[in-house]
């Protein structure tokens, strides 16, 4: 028996990459769930090709799934993978530049034939020409071994070849000392129902992959990542889109309202619709409209009728919704607008992440039209932010924009499932008293009464024309118009009075304050922590509320010599901070469709420290 060594690692990042038909997303998801069950903290990032059916074997068709698992807190899917499983030459070509020097490379040699090498643009075979010498390369005939292991199942050749991702998964399980239990159960419970034969074959391939690791001479080491110190509770792995959907469901429950989602499919927001459309019987009505405008307009109708109204979209769709957002603002009706940002402008990079819709969210409407804007910082945080968006919308009678992004939407992390009974209710008050009813009177927050159809004596008209203060009748008079613009602005400004104190992570004053928002949270936090560990006087503030900004932000900014604002855009929040607080905030800006790396944030902070 061959001697095998086990090494303990604090954390490891693994990337599975292959053709979009190779089942890499499924492989990644299975590995993630097994890892979570083993008690590691983790974060994942799937990377799909933009085209659904890019030609097989081409660079454009490569699909990847990265996960970072650790015995410590995990903030991101990891900068550079330690392990890359490449199922074909194209996957190697696309992903090799990210692999850590000395990293582990598992290659499916069967796919490294002349045709595929040429498709991927290789002049010679990298498995043989020595160009991979800087890595620990494990060439394995994954396809051949898979076919051999399932020969007796009797699948046709095409279906049989498709089982190779389970062989790779089994091998990865061996390498990281994971049990096969979870995946075996999944095959038995889920896959077997759809296709018993395929389930049987995949089960064999999985076990063969695992056995191969155990017996093959090339594998001398396996690795153990000890359990992380994780707060007690019930967990599940959740993507940002699912968390947004769950947060909206929770808001429905916490408010006691029925929910209406009016939306039009668009990447990467569509999954929110997919999730919510499953829960009609819990009080959610989902409406797949004819376009984004009808999506938001139907939601406005539902809000007017007394529902928790939601519309979901991504950048180009948000542009279409601008006019209707202002109708909601003008008739002062609650509405949650979720914008899952993607690369822009125009159709841009539909499957890639970006943070470039902040200015559109803040200002992309005609007239004086302030709308509260909040942004989620992690997949799980989408849940809390969706509730927060609904709370602000309902208590201040206003449309609210919730910004997430493609990275959060598709990325996942373990999420502690809350008990709804522990969460504060969202107070809803429908007006019913006809005596003295004034449609545009205001409460202490500046919110007008929600007076819904069906309530006797409250018949009244609303609309997009300027409203007379209190009565809500159409009014063209200039003085009233200015008053109403100021009242609407003031209502939004007052939301800041309810916000908790801003959390400053690191030093409370000092040299460099890093201010971020949205999905860059993990990379910024990890990057700043690195610099903090080196003893520098830096801190990190991550903004959830982008309009109104927290009342205490100005004072915090002024306590630091330099303010650095990393964003996946060309400088949007930095522009707002400069204008609002008259400080010399500088941006660190990249927009290449990818999330920040922890290391590049750390380098940017160090560079900023030099300028102090």
């Amino acid at each position: 028996m061959l001697e095998k060594h086990t090494e303990v690692l604090e954390s490891v990042a693994i990337r599975f990459a292959g053709d979009s038909g190779d089942g890499m997303q499924l492989t990644g998801t299975q590995f993630t769930e097994t890892t979570a069950l083993a008690g590691n903290d983790l974060a994942t990032f799937p990377d799909y090709p933009a085209e659904i059916r890019a030609p097989a074997g081409t660079l454009g068709g490569v699909s990847g799934f990265q996960l970072n698992l650790s015995s410590r807190d995990v903030f991101t899917p990891g900068d550079e993978p330690d392990v890359l499983v490449a199922m074909n030459p194209a996957a190697l070509k696309v992903n090799l530049p990210d692999l850590k020097p000395g990293g582990i490379l598992i290659l499916n040699t069967e796919q490294f034939n002349d045709k595929n090498l040429e498709r991927a643009g290789y002049k010679s075979n990298p498995v043989e020409d020595g160009s991979l010498a800087a890595y620990r390369v494990y060439p394995v005939d994954i396809t051949g071994l898979t076919l051999k292991s399932i020969a007796d199942v009797g699948l046709n050749q095409r279906a049989a070849v498709r089982c190779k991702n389970f062989f790779a998964l089994g091998l990865a399980y061996w390498m990281f000392n994971r049990t096969l239990d979870h995946t075996i159960a999944w095959i038995e419970q889920t896959m077997a129902k759809k296709d018993a034969l395929a389930a049987q074959a995949n089960m064999k391939a999985l076990k063969a992959g695992h056995a191969f690791g155990e017996t093959a001479e090339i594998f001398t080491h396996s690795y153990v990542i000890p359990e992380a110190n994780i707060a007690p509770g019930k967990y599940k792995n959740i993507t940002g889109n699912e968390a947004t959907a769950m947060g909206l469901l929770a808001a429905m429950q916490l408010s006691g309202l029925e929910m209406f989602l009016g939306t039009y499919p668009i990447t990467p927001a569509t999954d929110i619709l997919h999730h919510l459309s499953k829960y009609k019987h819990l009080g959610v009505k989902t409406f797949q409209a004819e376009d984004e405008i009808a999506g938001i307009c139907s939601a406005i109708g539902a809000s007017y009728a007394g529902g928790l109204a939601v519309t979901t979209t991504s950048g180009p769709g948000l542009a279409l919704k601008s006019e209707a957002m202002n109708l909601a603002l003008m008739i002062e009706t609650p509405l949650v607008i979720v914008n899952v940002q993607r690369g822009g402008p125009s159709t841009g990079l539909p499957t890639k992440t970006e943070q470039s819709d902040l200015l559109q969210a803040l200002f992309g409407r005609n007239g004086e039209s302030p709308i509260p804007v909040i942004a989620a910082k992690s997949p799980g945080d989408c849940f809390d932010c969706a509730i927060e968006a609904a709370r602000i919308a309902i208590t201040s009678m206003t449309p609210v924009l919730l910004l997430t992004d493609g990275y959060l939407a598709n990325g996942s992390e373990p999420w502690r499932i809350p008990q709804l009974t522990d969460l504060p209710r969202i107070p809803v008050h429908f007006h019913t008293e006809p005596n003295g009813f004034q449609p545009y009177s205001r409460d202490e927050r500046g919110a007008r009464p929600w007076a819904i159809p069906g309530t006797p004596g409250l018949e009244h008209r609303v609309g997009g024309l300027e409203k007379a203060n209190l009565t809500g009748n159409v009014a063209y008079d200039g003085g009233n118009h200015e008053l109403m613009c100021r009242l609407r602005a003031d209502k939004i400004r007052r939301i800041a009075d309810d916000l908790p104190a801003t959390e400053v992570h690191g030093n409370l004053d000092g040299d460099v304050l890093v201010v971020g928002w949205g999905g860059t949270y993990g990379a910024i936090r990890a990057g700043v922590d690195k610099v903090l560990r080196d003893g520098h006087r830096v801190a990190h503030v991550h903004l959830r509320n982008l309009n109104p900004l927290p009342n205490d932000l100005g004072a915090i900014l002024h306590r630091f010599k330099r303010v650095l604002v990393p964003e996946i855009n060309l400088g949007q929040l930095s522009r707002i901070l400069r204008e609002r607080y008259l400080i010399d905030a500088v941006g660190y800006n990249r927009l290449q469709g990818k999330p920040f790396k922890e290391s590049e944030i750390a380098r940017a902070v160090l560079a900023e420290l030099e300028r102090v």
């Binding site: 009609k280 307009c297 406005i300 709804l420």
Partner: protein, 344 residues
């Protein structure tokens, strides 16, 4: 789910309603002589007769002279944005199927900027009553040609005549699968209330094209049909099960010739039993009738099509009922669905 946040109210008694209850204190801002006044009066006249509590009626409009309508109706109402009323109304109706939801729109509002929402609301059999005031012009923006203006129409935006071919709104509505399609003229004190009532009682998407006079920018566009002197020669009143006859003494009729083309015939000569007989449930006939266009043919008024099929809100409620047996029975269970693990 806790439905308790919704107001617990007793519906008012619709039997006590009169036309006056539907009037507001806002003075209409339409030009003197505008056809919109007579439409408003007819709607206010029929609403008390429908047996619907006033607070359960909602009027949603877009933008245009016609879309000012909700301000003058003492019901719940929204004067929304240009072209979007059918989408907004769809949200109201889907969330609250119990409400009676009406859309008021213009030929520009419904067929130009709002064309998409218009056809999709109809195709879904959304239970909306859509009243389209067709003055064949953009009134509010002071007289540009609209999607229903005749080709060659000279306006401020088409001094050489509009090159566009117009829409035939009834054909559009039929092709868009509306389950109730009708036409009436603004000052037709018999025909208009009749189709309004039929539309109100129809469960599903109801579309009424109302020929409306704009004395300022397109005066007399429908005179041939509304003027007492010429009306009888041009008006073909559709009655279910009755032969298609018109004329001052109903001496003329509509039939199909050997090439399946419509022809106007002399009833006495041709024989009444050879005329086409109206059937509101016949799709092809409805479309055929929509193609009878002035001046070559009489203009049909009344109900072109009225068929029954489940409305959108009914189908949604059915799906909700079917889903009740699902495994996940509460939001908490939804949160906990899927693969979970417990850390102790």
């Amino acid at each position: 789910m806790t439905a308790s946040v919704y107001p617990h109210v007793q519906p008012t008694d619709p039997a006590l309603l009169t036309k006056k209850d539907f009037q507001t204190d806002q003075d209409p801002r339409w030009c003197p002589g505008c056809g919109d006044y007579s439409i408003l009066a007819q709607v206010q006249r029929i609403l008390p007769e429908l047996g619907i509590p006033k607070e359960q009626i909602v009027f949603i409009s877009g933008i245009g002279c016609s879309s000012r309508f909700p301000y003058y109706m003492n019901t719940f109402g929204m004067h929304s944005i240009h072209g979007r009323a059918p989408a907004i109304a769809s949200g109201v109706k889907t969330l609250r199927p119990g409400l009676s939801v009406w859309v008021v729109t213009g030929d520009g509002d419904a067929l130009a900027i709002g064309g998409n929402h218009f056809i999709h609301a109809l195709r879904r059999n959304m239970d909306l009553k859509i009243l389209m005031f067709n003055n064949r012009i953009y009134g509010l923006t002071k007289g540009q040609y609209s999607p229903t203006s005749e080709q060659g129409k000279k306006t401020k935006s088409s001094p050489a005549g509009a090159p566009d071919y117009p829409f035939n709104p009834i054909s559009v509505a039929l092709s868009a699968e509306a389950t109730f399609v009708a036409r009436a003229a603004d000052i037709d004190a018999k025909g208009l209330p009749a189709v309004l009532e039929r539309a109100a009682k129809h469960k599903g998407s109801a579309f009424i094209e109302i020929y409306q006079n704009c004395p300022i920018f397109n005066d007399g566009a429908h005179d041939y049909l509304t003027d007492r002197k010429t009306k009888a020669d041009h008006e073909l009143r559709l009655e279910h099960g009755k032969p298609l006859r018109f004329g001052p003494k109903l001496e003329k009729g509509v039939a199909l010739d050997a090439r399946m083309q419509p022809v106007v015939v002399d009833v006495a000569e041709y024989g009444e039993d050879r005329l086409l007989v109206h059937d509101e449930q016949n799709d092809s006939l409805a479309y055929f009738l929509s193609r009878l266009v002035h001046p070559a043919f009489p203009t049909p008024v009344g109900v072109f099509r009225c068929v029954e099929r489940p409305s959108y809100d009914q189908l949604v409620e059915e799906q909700i009922d079917t889903a009740r047996g699902r495994k996940v029975q509460s939001v908490q269970q939804a949160l906990e669905a899927g693969e979970t693990w417990t850390i102790t």
